[in-house]
Amino acid sequence: MRKKKLGLLLTGVMMVGLLAGCGGKNADSPSPSGTAAGTVQETAPKETVKLKFFTGKVETVDLMNTLIQKFNSENPGIEVEQEYQKDASNVIKVKFASGDIPDITTVVEQDYIDQGKYLDLSNEPFWPRVLPAVKELSTDVKSGKQYQVATNVTMAGIFYNKKIFQELGLKEALTWDEFKANLQAIKDKKPDVTPLFIAGRDSWTLGHLIEFLAHGIIKQDLGVKSAREAFINNESDKLKFDQENGPIDTFAKRLLELQAAGLINKDALTATYDNQKEAFATGKAAMISQGMWVVADLLKISPDFQNDLGFSPYPSIQDGTKPVVLSADDSRYAITAQSKHPDEAKKFLEFLLQPENLKTYSEFLKSPPAFTDVTADWGPLKEQANQALSSGVNIAFTDSPSGFSGDDAGRMVQELLAGQYAASLDFAKAYKDAWDKAWKATHR
């Protein structure tokens, strides 16, 4: 029983063994400009081709299964299988290394693009149908090609409870001072409501705070394209991670400010994403920072919540900057370069990109489509989302090094909230060190 743990560890060591064993073989892997490594050997057409679809999106597993069933019945010669892993962006590394390579996947990482792990999709016929902004985000900044396609746009910002706001006569905050005043008003007048609920046990939620609030300053200063280049190439003179009163330092100060004033939940470190959804949907919390992916679950918890649901941009955390709202590519797909059945994988991708299927997907996920020929009735926040998009600067997700995921950044924010940094600037410096270390590991 207890030896299992040793077994687990040895498995880890073995996995490393596998990784290395294959690392050598991949030494001459194709550069991103190369074409598919897998040469298609047309065997007898009667044989069923098994396609592996690898996903990290828990919320779409059931929906994908229905779509896959439809596809399999329409295409007798092809059989798609879905595999879901919680830690997909890490598991795929092991898959690449051990040769258990999926044909099509939702996991797209810059480092893997650089390694030539994905098939070039630049010449596929669907690109004219994609929103220009999303196409830009799907373009690899180094080669100018598209190795991925996104089907949806997702947004993130501050969700707030309209009922509480109306009751207290509050308005959506655009500056930090307004935001803090709102929180304070809620705390003073409604002592049993948490002004801003933070789900710190799930470190990715804290990683998002850095990605949207702190990186938001960098992204609006540089603009979408330059910001992506700065993150991908680690141009530290532009990122200014460790600068005093720079983006990270300011972010840390602001967060500690809220904590000191008691404007976030006491258990910010141990509350989970589920606790957060529960508290917000039942009116026990007035505001949360989340993305559109949360809406479907909120309405599951309390169906009438729809009318009280408000959405606004993130306030500007630094004087002289603008409020931001995440508006980014979501639900990405990429075909692996080593797939043995690239043509069938493309066929499956084409199927997923059919307008009717995109519409089903958007309406299920309650998230706007990224294709111009799809009109989906995607949810109660349509109006407010458009308003937020016009009142805040639209920013994208951060292209962080694969060794420094949102979870890792989130764990550093946990440390910050647990009071393990003497000063906010120490946090900023530690953040830069961690980022640089991870970036160097894959750039040499």
Binding site: M1, R2, K3, K5, L6, L8, L9, L10, G12, V13, M14, M15, V16, G17, L19, A20, G21, G23, G24, N26, A27, D87, N90, K93, F96, A97, D111, Y112, Q115, G200, R201, S203, K266, D267, L269, T270, A271, N275, P401, S402, G403, F404, S405, D408, R411, M412, Q414, E415, L416, L417, A418, Q420, A438, A441, T442, R444
Partner: protein
Amino acid sequence: MNLLRKLWNNLHLFMALPAIVLFGLFFIYPLAQGIGISLTDSNGMSPPRFIGLQNFVDFFHDARAKKDVYNTVFFAIGSAPLLNLFGFLYALILDRPFKGKGFVRAVVYLPAVISPLIMGYVWYFILQPDRGFLYHLLASLHLGTGGSDWLGNANSALLVLVFINVWQFVGMTMIIYLAGLQSIPKELYEAGEIDGAGYLKSLWYITIPMVVQSIKINVVTNIIGSLSVFEIIVALTDGGPGYSTESLSIYILRMLYGSFTGYSTAVAMILFVMIIIPVFLFMRYINKKEFEM
């Protein structure tokens, strides 16, 4: 004929062959591979380069690693002795004849049947401040709010982890001690009684020397288990807040996933040595002791 006879007489040597092959394939070979990788800067993707002992040097300058070593050792020093002490006491008590003995044994052993991962989540729901079962229980009894965040503070979280681990696996240790106790011939105690040995004397001079095999098994498995602790921490704190309750096993896994394959392997080697040394020292000590007995 002669050859056949030779084969027949040495057949026992071939019997061990499958085991040796498997051991080589699944232990020696990966270990050798691992040592090789721990000397490179492999990131799991690009071709690895040889960097000598750099990873091991880095380890000793790595603040997070130091903290993880502290957590792991703290956990082991907290768990292993307590497990053996309570396991042995439970075994002594439950070795006596009384009504409902089977039931009590089952209750003590029960937690060990459940996966530590599930156990961790269950305890998480008990200990969560403001929402957990314990909070509601204490509130309903008017015993303060129980609002202290046990898991939000590194030191108390470690203590909680040790407590849960001991409570969960004490049954495991107990069963092995019980087996040892029941194999002691009754005549020894009778002889001791005639010679006028009291309970404590017979415990010291008869029981403990006779269960030395059980002590060996228990101490070794507990050292190995608690130094490579993984699941319970993942479930209860996920190494948090921050990295303050991270164990070395978790660190190894996270580094392995996060582009630091070479370094991760080096840490795995270090952990391997960290486990081997106390086990080796203990075995040497106990074997010497046994010889004296």
